[in-house]
């Protein structure tokens, strides 16, 4: 077989051209660090470095015939260890996934999540009119910008799971109470908010992501606020790194950054000690993703809780083990299990238990249901408690 000439490598060239810093793909020397650290690399037909080799050889069909690329959780581990700093997650993997999506080759559960997002503005398929229902029966009403129309300091971008999922709505309510206790002048978009689009973007649905970004960008543009904060690392990652490319540039903080700035105000309000030994799970999307590097602020908050003891798991900060929810993974548990008989979420829970944690502290809305399910599988009676940092703070602030 003749060697593929460079001009034949159309798909490889396409990946390079559509990715910022895509030319770094040419620097790949096949060291295999990426495939080695990939949590599901063992299950892929073409883990990242093999994908590059295959594209360089212009063997595109075998790549598109395999469905194993959907094992990629967009956890950014590969990108974070690549010595040539190749944009593997957002460039190589997302572009190959886009090609699969254009051909309609997407696992069924993920298809449903994408179709729901398009139609209802959220992956759960719930009515957009009910997006702010979680905030309705709080003692103090959460302002919705379409109703109040007044300028605020903070626009709180809530997100799909934090708005609709029954396990995460309490986290949102806890966050509302904290913001109210601190006297923060904030509001939410409510029904005008659509899914942030991060997982849809990383899962390759570029058209859907752009549509969502346009909708949210238009909603942001209607109101006056100084900055956006969010309880959702995916929203943080995509609004910070991708929305500006579409013309929507807003200062955004993850809520742990925002609250760390106000720790002196929060400390005196925490009158109830929490005697928990806690391990903190670093979410990919505020951590190693795109070098967002939000690692210390969540820890500062947890250390400030009276009575709490913070321990570290062996995999922490930039080498944290993904919960498995990114890049479409949140809807691919059955798919992944069929192909690997391994759940990354259970690995993480086992690590937390082995480290001696009683409470696994999290800061992302996909994590509580994922880790609680995994804890049931690993321990049988689910002794490990999973709490969002906002829930822990609210608990400590109870009078």
């Amino acid at each position: 077989m003749p060697a593929a000439s460079i001009s034949d490598r159309l798909f490889y060239a396409k990946v390079i051209s559509v990715t910022p810093h895509g030319e770094r793909l040419d620097l790949c020397l096949q060291c295999g660090m990426c495939s080695g650290i990939c949590p599901y690399g063992f299950g892929m037909d073409f883990p990242p470095h093999a994908l590059i080799a295959e594209l360089r050889a212009n063997e595109v069909d075998p790549i598109l015939e395999s469905d194993r690329i959907w094992l990629c959780m967009s956890c950014f581990a590969c990108t974070s260890v690549c010595p040539a700093q190749i944009p593997l997650t957002t460039g190589l993997l997302a572009t190959v996934k886009t090609e699969m999506i254009l051909k309609g080759k997407v696992p069924t559960e993920l298809q449903t999540a994408l179709e729901n997002t398009l139609r209802y503005g959220n992956s759960l398929g719930k009515s957009p009119r009910k997006r702010a229902e979680w905030s309705q029966d709080l003692p103090s009403k959460v302002p919705i910008l379409a109703e109040t129309k007044e300028p605020v300091e903070i626009l709180w971008f809530v997100g799909d799971y934090a708005s609709y999922h029954p396990r995460i709505q309490p986290v949102s309510r806890a966050m509302a109470k904290i913001l109210q206790a601190l006297g923060v002048h904030f509001a939410i978009l409510g029904p005008e908010e659509s899914s942030d689009g991060d997982v849809q973007c990383l899962a390759g649905e570029r058209g859907l992501f752009e549509m969502l970004a346009q909708k949210n960008g238009k909603a942001f543009g209607k109101y006056q606020f100084k900055e956006i904060i969010t309880t959702d690392p995916h929203a943080y990652n995509v609004i910070k790194n991708e929305y500006p490319k579409l013309g929507f540039s807003y200062p955004i903080k993850h809520y742990t950054q925002f609250l760390t700035e106000r720790l002196d105000q929060i400390r005196p309000l925490m009158r109830k000690p929490l005697m928990y030994r806690m391990a903190y799970h670093d979410p990919c999307c505020i951590g190693r993703a795109n070098n967002n590097n939000v690692y210390e602020e969540p820890r500062q908050i947890l250390k400030s809780i009276p009575g709490a003891e913070l321990i570290e798991m062996p995999h922490n900060r930039s080498n944290s083990i993904c919960c498995g929810g990114g890049g479409g993974g949140n809807w691919l548990d059955g798919f992944v299990w069929e192909r690997t008989h391994a759940r990354i979420t259970e690995w993480r829970v086992r690590e937390a238990i082995a480290a001696g944690a009683e409470v696994l502290a999290v800061a992302c809305p996909y994590e509580p249901p994922r880790f609680e399910d995994a804890a049931k599988m690993v321990q049988g009676d689910g002794k490990l408690v999973v709490k969002d940092i906002a829930e822990l703070l609210a608990e400590a602030m109870e009078s």
């Binding site: 999506i101 254009l102 309609g104 997407v106 069924t108 298809q111 994408l114 179709e115 398009l118 139609r119 209802y120 398929g125 719930k126 009515s127 009119r129 649905e205 570029r206 058209g207 859907l208 549509m211």
Partner: protein, 254 residues
């Protein structure tokens, strides 16, 4: 081979359904419409047939709010012609009206095969397929879960209760009521639908006044009303049997 696929949009059950002031139909204020699930399978089956043979696929639907996007999505999946029927459809029509309206267009199109969903959740006066077949005087086979083209006829795979499946040879032209396409409706990327919106054309076909004759008049539409609660009868067999006999006498069946 000329394939026509008929679809309609039905109330999306994600939104809460309310009865309107008149008490005989749904309040349309917050109602969203979505393609009937079985019709979505009919479109998929038509596209699968097109991929396997040199077929032309025409999709036809009544013009209501939201139908354009569904038509363009069908185009993105591979439909060749998009037909929007223009008539007094917004307030909601029964299947007799819809069938008569569709037949005016089908008489011009002269398709070899007509596919439509076997039922829709808002059917009150029978389902669309048999009505269309009846008005055209052609055969209808329902509960079809597989379609093969064979020497100018179709082999329809029809499901029966109890796990029985029949393969029925059907002369064309004919109408098939699709229960399930051979594969689940495919995913079509948003960018492809957007592309179709730029390149595909929706042909509008005016239908005259609608004729609902043969339909069922609705006297009252209401949400399920809770009856009296269930009664649990305790005791051993004798006690239960005695109590049951008492109750049967009380209510007058014994």
């Amino acid at each position: 081979m000329n394939i026509a696929t008929l679809f309609k949009l039905v109330p999306d059950l994600v939104e809460e359904l309310e009865i309107d002031a008149g008490g005989t139909s749904l309040d349309m204020t917050w109602l969203r419409l979505i393609i009937s699930e079985f019709d979505d399978h009919a479109i998929e089956q038509a596209i699968l047939l097109k991929e396997r043979s040199a077929a032309q696929v025409t999709v036809i639907a009544p013009g209501v709010e939201g139908v354009d996007e569904v038509l363009f999505t069908a185009a993105a999946k591979g439909a060749d012609r998009l037909i929007k029927l223009i008539g007094d459809f917004e307030a909601g029509v029964n299947n007799h009206s819809l069938a008569r309206a569709i037949v005016t267009f089908l008489k011009d199109l002269q398709p070899d095969l007509i596919l439509t969903g076997v039922q829709a959740h808002n059917d009150l006066d029978g389902s669309l397929g048999p009505l269309v077949a009846g008005f055209l005087g052609i055969p209808y086979v329902g509960y079809v879960s597989g379609v093969t083209l064979s020497n100018g006829k179709v082999i329809a795979q029809k499901e029966y209760p109890g796990g029985l499946i029949a393969r029925i040879e059907v002369d064309l032209p004919a109408v098939l009521g699709i229960q399930a396409a051979e594969k689940p409706p495919r995913y079509v990327a948003v960018s492809k639908v957007r592309q179709a919106m730029q390149t595909a054309i929706i042909e509008e076909h005016k239908v005259g006044s609608l004729d609902p004759t043969g339909g069922i008049p609705v006297e009252r539409m209401f949400k399920p009303e809770a009856g009296t609660r269930a009664m649990i009868i305790e005791g051993d067999e004798r006690e239960i049997a005695s109590r049951l006999i008492e109750i049967f006498k009380e209510v007058g069946v014994l």
